[in-house]
Symmetry: D2
Subunit: 133 residues, 4 copies
Amino acid sequence: MDKYAFEYEMKVRDYECDIQGVVNNANYQHYMEHARHEFLESVGVSFSELHDEGIDLMVSKITIEYKRPLRGSDRFAVRINTVRKGAKLIILQDIYNLADETLSVKGEVEVVCLKNGRLTRGEIFDEIFKDLN
Amino acid sequence: MDKYAFEYEMKVRDYECDIQGVVNNANYQHYMEHARHEFLESVGVSFSELHDEGIDLMVSKITIEYKRPLRGSDRFAVRINTVRKGAKLIILQDIYNLADETLSVKGEVEVVCLKNGRLTRGEIFDEIFKDLN
Amino acid sequence: MDKYAFEYEMKVRDYECDIQGVVNNANYQHYMEHARHEFLESVGVSFSELHDEGIDLMVSKITIEYKRPLRGSDRFAVRINTVRKGAKLIILQDIYNLADETLSVKGEVEVVCLKNGRLTRGEIFDEIFKDLN
Amino acid sequence: MDKYAFEYEMKVRDYECDIQGVVNNANYQHYMEHARHEFLESVGVSFSELHDEGIDLMVSKITIEYKRPLRGSDRFAVRINTVRKGAKLIILQDIYNLADETLSVKGEVEVVCLKNGRLTRGEIFDEIFKDLN
């Protein structure tokens, strides 16, 4: 198993499943968003404080590979790593079924940082994550 | 069929259905909310303009009777009437399956009006709906 | 505080909030559904086993009073009691903000029991909940 | 403007927007899924009929680039093209804001075809889309 910087556990809710009895594809993105916010909160990022300083973090691209579907009541963990790539922060988010540790979904989220509405070179990311290294 | 003041047509999207193959109960509330906003827009209500004048409309209570479930791809209409009741506006919202005009859901939404954060006696409702009588 | 038969804790996810920064009204119904399923699971109800015996539990009516909105990251508890009323089971579901124990939402859910597609007199409910008394 | 094989128009519903007043990122995936199903329906694909023949179409990967957010009440079109790539079908789905024809979201969806639970070489895709060429 890879080493991850952060892990967040959740449980599938029945209303997140569709006719096939599996989690609807878009809901994995909801899981990823919620885990990402928990992660950023854990390293001290406050969206509202950043916003008050004129700084906004925005998702510019998302890639999701669907490996094995989750089903109602499944417990799973969203595991997270980050990589800097030029002006972007890449957040790697893998979702594992906790019943057997199989990989369910492999996600990659590109985040850019705007200051006063203009794209920055991403210096803020180094500052936010300096304690993770 | 009752006479309604407003009607809005929609189609069930597959992701709104759950394992049983029918629309998940909470999604009817989404349909009702969207149809209500379309209705208020049609009589000239702008939430943002009202908000700028310090006026906020808020749902205080909702009642939904489930009669017959909708399924994937079903076309349906949300039909709306309003009744004043003291300080409240009651919005009656019935959902019909357009395939056979059967009643799917019977909804009743109580709305109150706040001015500068304080409950009003609902005078604003008479003004908004004066052209419907 | 009332005595409840069951309690389930959750946390608001940002994507569940709308433009006003509060949880969208329909999402409380999602919270209630998920807590209800956890509750039924805790007393040994298996929807799939019941279904295999020709028994289906269905929500026939829902009433929700909105008291105080929840916001992003709020922790809350869904607290549950049940009452038999003729052929129906009434599930009372109150949502409390755990920060200050204020009541956020007061819900009442009517459930009926079908056997082979026909409405029963609800004998099954007595059996399911016999250990709660 | 590129030539597209299919177009489906929709309107943003307020409950699909988040605190920032824009459509929540995961909801674009819902729009894409619904438009995709409408597209497949338009070329005569019936998921249930295929399923009865032991054939299942599954999304294996999704990539979404976020260009310009949609807001409440915005009208938009999901425009679709398809490309065969080995055993996969690539469905290109671009979302345009109809107010000014700006590109809002650029999506790419990889679909694989299973027969009796085993990956096929995708011959079915040629058959389904033979009339589009």
